[in-house]
Amino acid sequence: MIWSGKEITLYFQEKKYIDTVTVPLLPVSFGESSRQEAEQGEFIPLLTSLLERQFKGRMLLLPPFTYFSTESDEQKKQRLNDWVLQFKKEEFKNIIFVTADPFWRGHEQEFDAEIIWMPSIPMEHMDAKYKQKIVDDQVSQLVKLIVQKWQAN
């Protein structure tokens, strides 16, 4: 399910089947790293939207969690933790964050959620066919990971 008027109605009808929530984590800043962050902002949502297509009936894809990369570490973590607590309250069994921001590496264990870190791939100069191949590969990796996770609990 995606965060759209039509699908959210369906979500509330079929709530018992949808136990997984997915949120992309996207940094924003103005400066040296803008370019990489913009690339992430292109790549990660594409990845998650394809993932959602595979798992439409069990996964709710929310709009990205965005933050300024200049925010303090504590604040970022604090805010993300608030999201996790909200999801727990909604009784999501699997909480999946997908990001390419190196900041979250090494902090995966600090949350009661799964943070999947993917290297961002700059796609601006890629031709369409090659781009699709690369993204499909990445998606199928994610698919495997999530199916494993589902089978584990």
Binding site: Y17, I18, Q54, F55, K56, G57, R58, Q132, V147
Partner: protein, 169 residues
């Protein structure tokens, strides 16, 4: 030539009917054409998309075929990639199934789990379908997988069309 004489009155009758007929036809033809236009375009249109896969590449085992087409959604035109599971049945007819699970819309895979060979499997809630697309009772899906209209072009390349209800399950 002929021993039947054509009188002046007859000659005028013939010519005027002829000319009048042409004029009437000239006026009526476009009108009729407009009236039956929807029928004609539907026949010529037939939204089939070429997949780039030839008939020889297909077998009796469902193969995943990706095909893309342009979709216009309000002001936004995008290239949509769709997937189909395609195989040949006993009569060598092409069967194309839409991989969208009839339960809640996940994507199903042929032999997606090791414990269920020769079936389509939905990873979300363990839905199962037979090869024909028929849903296996006792699993969440309540209807068979939809089919896609399929035909083979003159060049031997598989073309896929609209999603239609399953007719073989």
């Amino acid at each position: 030539m002929s021993n039947q004489r054509v009188s002046r009155r007859q000659f005028l009758n013939y010519t005027l009917t002829g000319v009048g007929g042409f004029m009437a036809a000239g006026m009526l033809m476009p009108m009729v054409r407009f009236a039956i236009d929807p029928v004609l375009t539907a026949e010529a249109g037939g939204d089939f998309v070429s997949t780039g896969t030839t008939l020889e590449e297909l077998s009796d085992v469902p193969t995943r075929i990706d095909f893309s087409y342009e979709q216009k959604d309000a002001w936004y035109t995008s290239e949509v990639t769709q997937t189909a599971w395609v195989y040949l049945d006993e009569q060598q007819n092409v069967v194309a199934l839409n991989p969208t699970c009839k339960h809640l819309g996940c994507t199903v895979n042929w032999e997606g789990t090791e414990s269920e060979p020769n079936r389509f499997f939905c990873p979300c809630h363990n839905g199962l379908y037979e090869k024909s697309g028929k849903n296996v009772p006792g699993t969440p899906p309540t209807a068979p997988l939809d089919m896609l209209e399929a035909r083979v072009g003159d060049d031997g390349i598989l073309q896929l069309g609209q999603t239609v209800p399953n007719t073989i399950a």
